[in-house]
Each structure stands twice: as structure tokens, then as C-alpha cells.
């Protein structure tokens, strides 16, 4: 378990924090984009849905 824990730590910690940084950008971009879109009128055309 000790070895496995160390390997997990070495692999997962960078992935987690890199993912967190990216996710933070996702959150900011999504909020900005959503705010811009949802306050436009409903008559605007939507992208097609499947």
C-alpha cells in the first residue's frame, strides 16, 4: 500500500491541480458566456439540437 500510495500521489496530484486550473478557466468562461447569452432575447435563433 505504501508504494501504491506514493505512485498515486506522484501521478494524481499533478493531474488534479492541472485539471483544477483548467476547470477554473472553464468556470470563468462559462459564466461570462452564459451571462452574455441568457440576457439576450428569446427570439434569437438557437444552435440546432439533435
Amino acid at each position: 500500500m505504501e508504494t501504491l500510495s506514493h505512485i498515486l500521489s506522484v501521478v494524481l496530484v499533478p493531474l488534479f491541480f492541472a485539471g483544477m486550473v483548467g476547470s477554473l478557466f472553464v468556470v470563468i468562461s462559462t459564466i461570462v458566456g452564459d451571462l452574455q447569452e441568457i440576457f439576450t432575447t428569446d427570439e434569437d435563433t438557437e444552435s440546432p439540437e439533435l
Binding site: 500521489s9 496530484v13 493531474l15 488534479f16 483548467g22 476547470s23 468556470v27 439576450t40 438557437e46
Partner: protein
């Protein structure tokens, strides 16, 4: 008034035409209601997530809960992208598209674990709030009134008992088929909003008033894991120096706070136009609300409740503890705690129902795909619900409550397993679909790097990495969750795999038999041309092959040479079902085969022709009305419901008719009782039944008024128009006076009715029911023909 067009020549086949529609009959809701439904699930976690997180990681927990709430917006962006590709972009559909059936079964097993455990954790948590308050009140009274003995209920056992009662209550409601009401969800969220606003305002005031300090920052040195929170790492040297790995672990112990995201995917198909924009609006409302409620309230709770009692006493009812330690008079705080408990009971009780409905919906969805045996889909004889699936879900939930003795910590740990793994599978599938699916998307998770023709979805990869790393860490740090989750998911996976194999053989046989007996025709939408029927047809609903009394009544009263008769079978898709079901996905169960065979044999016994129609539906009344409108039907006939009165059935049909977009036509709705008695209701605006004395009154007025100069061209209708216009004016000016006068008029009419003047009409004499004519039964028993007044709001 029967249709006069010549009879259309039927197809040259002795098989009955059976049209299977692909478009599901839906009713749509606003983004506020959609957000309320999701928040009933997601918001309920605020009542227990903070306490459980602090128990696991220490006083820095609120920062992680806040972090999870911010990260949940990124997870929601993944769901929004999936929903923009497939109207119901839930885990099962997405994973199946991306990774195939086997992965879909694994992911749906994890999702089931999530959904099933939502019930026990919410029920037990509701119990904890109630028992906590009762024990607190007992202690308060003991001090106040000098009681020698302080009554004390054991929180775990008592909470488990309350959870069992709540689960059994909602199990029974679901067996009876209570309707999912977005109105109810919205009302619960309104009262919850009042509580959240009070918590925030009063909480911030308390913090400023007392000069409370923020919890320690979420850095490795401030993390203090409980022995249970170390899971399989307990006792290792590694556990003594976790470093940044501890931050990852702490995040994993807080993911419970974002449970309920899948509900967004389930509710998406019901969101009204413009769907994507409204979905984003709902996502925004959910994000702000859950951040303020789950995130900020947890932070305030840690700042307000003293360390000595916060985890020890209020771990499982943190919000109640917050209420009790606000600044202000004690009695006011006790009342506020009562309010918190009431709101908690409502929202957590609602989450128990959501768990049963959601689990049932997921299982129905996989059953429709042939992954679950037909045995599970068999409808309950009396109520028509999928009782075997409901029994299975409620049975597992009760078993969890009993096995854990109502321990929120154990259930919460296990619950997190389902939550994180279903998210991870969804994000992985969406990542695969970025390369595999080249169709148009309404929305994309942002942060996409384009190099030449290749697009690298950095944002989606980031979200997936966080979810995957957290899920893997949780496998090691949540031993109970890992063991129970793996056993549960494996058991469900085996059931799904075996069922699918067995089902394939059965469905192949059923489909072959269906093709032999029926002329199957798949159509995207329902229309007269597909069924080759004339306007003014009669639609009859049929649910159970054992009780075709409505069909028999319809065949007795319809001349099928003049009026076409369509037997409608609604295929209920369950909560969160798809919006469109392709022909290849429409598998016929043995029950449906029996239903259609019976309908044909009954029609043959009358020597009359019928058409068969299957429509996938989310709501039976909406499906009925939409089908009647699409077919230009003059009458709709239905058997008496086992749970609604005829008037209630008509009311729901009327409501569904009101919700229909224009153009729409009126029809007569007949409810047939098992003994053959019929009741009819006009749906939509229609000419009112006018009594002879009222006609006399109009005529006398006409005679008098016509004598006046310039009134030679006066018609009877002018008098009615003038009277109605004046009444409308009067109503506009003085609503109360008009209503008073109208009430007086109704009383007078009632009195006259009592003297023998009936306002009821004979079926077929007026109204749009035309061809369906009531007649005296041969047995000599006269049918009741109560053409009630307009059912809809017109």
C-alpha cells in the same frame, strides 16, 4: 355530424395497421421550475454535506465545499454540452453513444448507486434534524422546568425509523403513481429560499457582531483527517505525511455537496423553448443558489457554531446548529430552528421521492432499451405503474437504512462513490464524443485549442482529470464506499447483462410475432395520413388487456363506416425519458403484444375495423390531448381511472388541452365506468346549454327592443353579444360585484334545477362528440349521460 367523406379503402392485408410514433408527447416547463426540480435534489445536500466534510477533513472543510460548488459549474457545463447533443444527455445515453453498451451498463450501475442512496441519506438526514430538535427541546425544557430526567431519543435509530416511514410513504405514493409536480418543487424552493435568505442575513450579522474568524485555509498543514477518512491508507507511513495529496483527499470527501447534477440532464427534455438558453438559465440559477446555500452557509456554520459542539452535536444537523448559535434571543433561535427543521423535512423528504422517481426513471430507461427484463416493466394491475421496479428501488433503500442503522456518515461515504463515478463516466464519454461525434453541438465546454484541423478540448480534459483523480483517490480513502459501491455496481451490472441476453431472445420472438399479426409502421409524428383516417375520429385509450370495457363501449356506440376508431396505447417513458425514440429502439413487451391482440379480437367480435396507435408519452393526459388534436379527433374515450374520479380525469384532460398550442380543436371526452356507465365532458370552448326559459327571455327582450326606432335589424344574437359585453365591462370595473351577482344567479339556477329542470344534455345532441351516440342499453339500465359543464378554464 359524422364525417361524410367516403370510406378509405383499407390496406390489402388482413393485418391491422399499428402505427408506432417516435416523438414523445411532452409537456414543457419554465427554467425556474426546472431549476427548482434540480435544487430539490442538489440543495438537499446542504443539510448534511458540510457536517460530513468537516468530520472527515477538519475545520478547513468549508473551503473544500466552496471549491466543490465552484467546480460543479464546470461539471454542469459538461452536462449542458451533452444535453445540447442529445435532448436527454444523461449518463446512460452519453456513455452508450461514446463507449458502447458494456460501459453504459457499468456507468448506469454507478448512477443507480448514487440515486438509490439519495433516498436513505435524505430520509435519515431529515430524521436527524427532527430528532436533534426534539432532544434539544427536551434539554431546554429540563433546564427551564427543572425536570429530574431528561428524555433523550437515540439519534441514529430514531432517524432510521423516520427514514423508513418516509421511504414507505413515498414508495406507496409511487406505486399509486403520484404525478411529478414541478409546482410542488417550486413551492418547496420558495420556502427554502426564505430560509436561506434568513440564514445568510442573520448569519452574516452574527459573524460581524461576534467578530468570528474564517476557518483555517485549505492547505495541507490545516487538514486533520479522521481515522475513517483515511480509508485503506490508515496505518500507513504515507498517511502521516500526505502533503498536497491531502488536499486531493479533502476535495474527494466534499464532492457529496454536488450530488444531484444528473437530475439536470433528466429534466432537460421538459424545458420549454428556447431549450438550450433556458437550460443555461436553469444552470445559472442552480449555480448561484447552491453556492450560496451549500457553500456559504457551510462556511458561516463553521464560523458561528462553537468548535466544542459543531461536529460532536451538530454534525448531522449543521443548519439547525447554525440557527441555534445565531445572535439573538433564545426563543427566536428555537423558533428559527423549528423553521429550519420544517424546511429540511420538506426538501429532504422531497429528495427521498426524487430518489425513488429518479432510480425508477433510470431503470425504466434501460428497460426500454431491453437491458432489463420485461418482468420489471409489467404494470401494476390497479394503478398501471411499474411496481416491480419501484419495489426493487424502495426495497434496496430500506435495506440500506436497516444495515447502516441510520448512520449518515456511512451512507454519505457510500453515496459519494456513486456521485463521483457517474460524473467521471459522463465526462469521459463526452471527451470521447469530441472525436467520435462530428454532428452539431448547441454548446461546448469552453477552452478549446485549435491546431490546424484538430481541436483539443482542454477544458473538458481538465474537468475529466479532476473527476478521475478524485474518483481514484476516493477508492483508497473511502473504504466503505469502495467495498459497498463495487459490490452494488457489480450486482447491477450482472443483472443488466443477464437480462439483456435473455431479453434479446424474447424481443426477437415478440417482434417477429408482432410483425406477423400487425402491419407495423413507424412514424415520426402522429397524423391522420399515417393512420389513413378521416377527420372527426374517435380515440379510445387502452391500458390493460384484461379490462377492455372502454373499447367495447366505443365499438358499441360508433359506426365505424362513418367514423374511424383509433385505439391508443401510451408507452410511458418514465421520468427523464427521451424526447425521441427511434424505430429500432421501440421494443414491444409481451404485455403490449397482449394488449394489441386483445384490442383486435374485441374489434373482430364486433365486426368493426380499428386502427392501432402507440405513442411514447411522458404524461398520459398530455399524450391523449396531443394525439386527439393531431388526429383531428371528435371524441376521446377512456376507462375510469383507478386513482382518479371521472371529473378529475376530465379536469386533467382540460388542463392539458389548455396547454396545447394553437391551432387546437374541441372534442368530447368520455369516461367509461367498468359497469358501462358513461360520463361525457366537453373539452375546449363550446356553446353553452341554454334552457328554454333563457331562450324565452332573449326572445321577449328581442320583441320589446325591436319596437324601438332603428332596431329593425336587431337579432337575438345581438342581445346576447350586448349582454356579454356589458358583463365584461362590469367585471372590469367591479370584479367583486360581478362575482356576487353571478353567485346569486348560480344559486337561482340550482334551485330551478332542483325542481326538475335539467341543464344536462343528451350525448350526441350537441357538442363536438358527434358520432358517439349514447343509447339505452339492452339490459334496460339507462346510461347516465352527465354532460358536465366546461372542464377547462375557458
Amino acid at each position: 355530424m359524422a364525417a361524410t367523406k367516403p370510406t378509405i379503402v383499407l390496406p390489402q392485408s388482413n393485418r391491422v395497421r399499428l402505427v408506432v410514433a417516435s416523438s414523445v408527447m411532452l409537456t414543457f416547463i419554465s427554467f425556474w421550475r426546472a431549476a427548482a426540480i434540480v435544487l430539490n435534489d442538489l440543495g438537499s445536500s446542504a443539510f448534511y454535506a458540510g457536517g460530513l466534510a468537516e468530520e472527515a477533513v477538519g475545520k478547513a472543510a468549508p473551503w473544500f465545499v466552496l471549491g466543490v460548488m465552484i467546480f460543479s459549474y464546470a461539471v454542469r457545463a459538461v452536462y449542458v454540452e451533452s444535453c445540447s447533443m442529445f435532448t436527454r444527455g444523461g449518463v446512460y445515453r452519453i456513455v452508450k453513444e461514446a463507449l458502447g453498451g458494456t460501459f453504459a451498463k457499468v456507468s448506469v450501475s454507478a448512477l443507480m448507486f448514487d440515486y438509490v442512496l439519495t433516498g436513505p441519506i435524505s430520509g435519515v438526514s431529515a430524521g436527524q434534524y427532527i430528532i436533534g430538535m426534539l432532544n434539544g427541546l427536551a434539554a431546554y425544557c429540563a433546564v427551564k422546568f427543572h425536570w429530574a430526567v431528561v428524555p433523550h431519543l437515540r439519534p441514529d435509530i430514531s432517524s432510521a425509523s423516520i427514514a423508513i416511514v418516509i421511504t414507505i410513504y413515498f414508495w406507496w405514493q409511487n406505486i399509486k403513481g403520484i404525478e411529478e409536480s414541478s409546482e410542488k418543487a417550486l413551492n418547496i424552493m420558495k420556502i427554502t429560499t426564505v430560509m436561506v435568505a434568513m440564514l445568510l442575513v442573520w448569519g452574516i450579522f452574527t459573524v460581524i457582531h461576534r467578530g468570528a474568524v474564517l476557518p483555517p485555509l485549505p492547505i495541507p498543514s490545516n487538514l486533520h483527517f479522521s481515522p475513517d477518512a483515511l480509508g485503506f491508507l490508515k496505518g500507513t507511513k504515507f498517511a502521516a505525511s500526505l502533503g498536497l495529496f491531502g488536499v486531493l483527499m479533502a476535495f474527494g470527501h466534499s464532492v457529496l455537496a454536488m450530488s444531484g447534477e444528473e437530475t439536470l440532464a433528466q429534466v432537460n427534455r421538459e424545458i420549454e423553448h428556447p431549450k438550450l438558453k433556458n437550460l443555461k438559465r436553469a444552470a445559472m440559477v442552480i449555480a448561484v443558489y447552491s453556492f450560496m446555500f451549500t457553500g456559504v452557509c457551510t462556511l458561516l456554520a463553521v464560523m458561528i457554531i462553537p468548535d466544542a459542539v459543531r461536529v460532536h452535536v451538530y454534525r448531522d444537523n449543521l443548519i439547525a446548529g447554525m440557527a441555534m448559535y445565531m445572535a439573538g434571543p433564545e426563543l427566536l433561535r428555537i423558533f428559527f430552528r423549528g423553521f429550519v427543521v420544517l424546511v429540511g423535512f420538506l426538501i429532504l423528504g422531497g429528495a427521498v421521492n426524487t430518489a425513488i422517481v429518479g432510480s425508477t426513471g433510470v431503470l425504466m430507461r434501460v428497460a426500454e432499451d431491453g437491458v432489463l427484463a420485461d418482468w420489471f416493466r409489467k404494470p401494476q394491475r390497479k394503478y398501471g405503474t411499474s411496481y416491480r421496479i419501484i419495489n426493487l428501488v424502495a426495497g434496496i433503500q430500506l435495506l440500506v437504512i436497516v444495515l447502516t442503522h441510520g448512520n449518515v456518515l456511512i451512507i454519505g461515504e457510500a453515496y459519494a462513490f456513486g456521485v463521483i463515478w457517474s460524473f467521471t463516466f459522463n465526462a469521459l464519454a463526452m471527451l470521447v464524443l469530441r472525436w467520435k461525434f462530428h454532428g452539431e453541438r448547441g454548446a461546448k465546454v469552453p477552452l478549446n485549442l485549435r491546431i490546424g484541423k484538430t481541436e483539443i478540448p482542454l477544458g473538458l480534459i481538465s474537468v475529466f482529470l479532476v473527476l478521475l483523480s478524485t474518483a481514484i483517490v476516493n477508492l483508497f480513502t473511502k473504504s466503505v464506499a469502495t467495498v459497498s459501491g463495487v459490490i452494488f455496481a457489480a450486482a447491477f451490472f450482472v443483472i443488466f447483462t443477464l437480462s439483456e441476453r435473455d431479453n434479446k431472445k424474447r424481443h426477437d420472438l415478440t417482434t417477429r410475432q408482432m410483425r406477423e399479426h400487425f402491419q407495423l409502421e413507424h412514424q415520426d409524428t402522429v397524423g391522420r395520413s399515417a393512420l389513413e383516417i378521416r377527420p372527426g375520429a374517435v380515440v379510445v385509450t387502452m391500458r390493460d388487456s384484461a379490462t377492455p370495457f372502454a373499447l367495447k363501449w366505443a365499438l358499441t356506440h360508433t359506426n365505424t363506416d362513418e367514423q374511424d376508431l383509433v385505439v391508443l396505447a401510451a408507452r410511458m417513458m418514465g421520468v427523464g425519458g427521451p424526447e425521441y425514440v427511434s424505430a429500432s429502439e421501440q421494443l414491444f413487451s409481451e404485455h403490449e403484444q397482449m394488449l394489441f391482440t386483445k384490442a383486435v379480437s374485441v374489434a373482430e367480435s364486433f365486426g368493426k375495423h380499428i386502427s392501432l396507435l402507440v405513442v411514447p408519452a411522458a404524461d398520459i393526459f398530455s399524450a391523449l390531448v396531443q394525439t386527439a388534436n393531431s388526429l383531428d379527433a371528435a371524441a376521446v374515450i377512456s376507462g375510469l381511472s383507478s386513482k382518479l374520479t371521472a371529473e378529475e380525469q376530465a379536469y386533467h384532460v382540460g388542463q392539458a388541452w389548455e396547454a396545447l398550442p394553437e391551432p387546437k380543436r374541441q372534442f368530447t371526452f368520455y369516461v367509461i365506468k367498468p359497469d358501462g356507465e358513461s360520463l361525457s365532458f366537453h373539452i375546449g370552448p363550446h356553446a353553452p346549454a341554454i334552457q328554454p326559459n333563457e331562450v324565452q327571455l332573449v326572445h321577449r327582450l328581442w320583441l320589446n327592443l325591436r319596437r324601438a326606432p332603428g332596431m329593425h335589424d336587431l337579432h337575438h344574437s345581438d342581445i346576447i353579444t350586448y349582454a356579454l359585453t356589458r358583463m365584461a365591462d362590469e367585471f372590469g370595473r367591479d370584479k367583486q360585484e360581478t362575482l356576487k351577482g353571478l353567485q346569486h344567479c348560480i344559486e337561482e339556477v340550482k334551485t330551478r334545477r332542483g325542481l326538475g329542470n335539467s341543464r344536462y344534455e343528451e350525448i350526441g345532441e350537441t357538442g363536438p362528440g358527434y358520432g358517439v351516440r349514447a343509447r339505452k342499453q339492452s339490459s334496460g339500465v339507462q346510461e347516465t349521460k352527465a354532460n358536465s359543464d366546461v372542464v377547462n378554464k375557458s
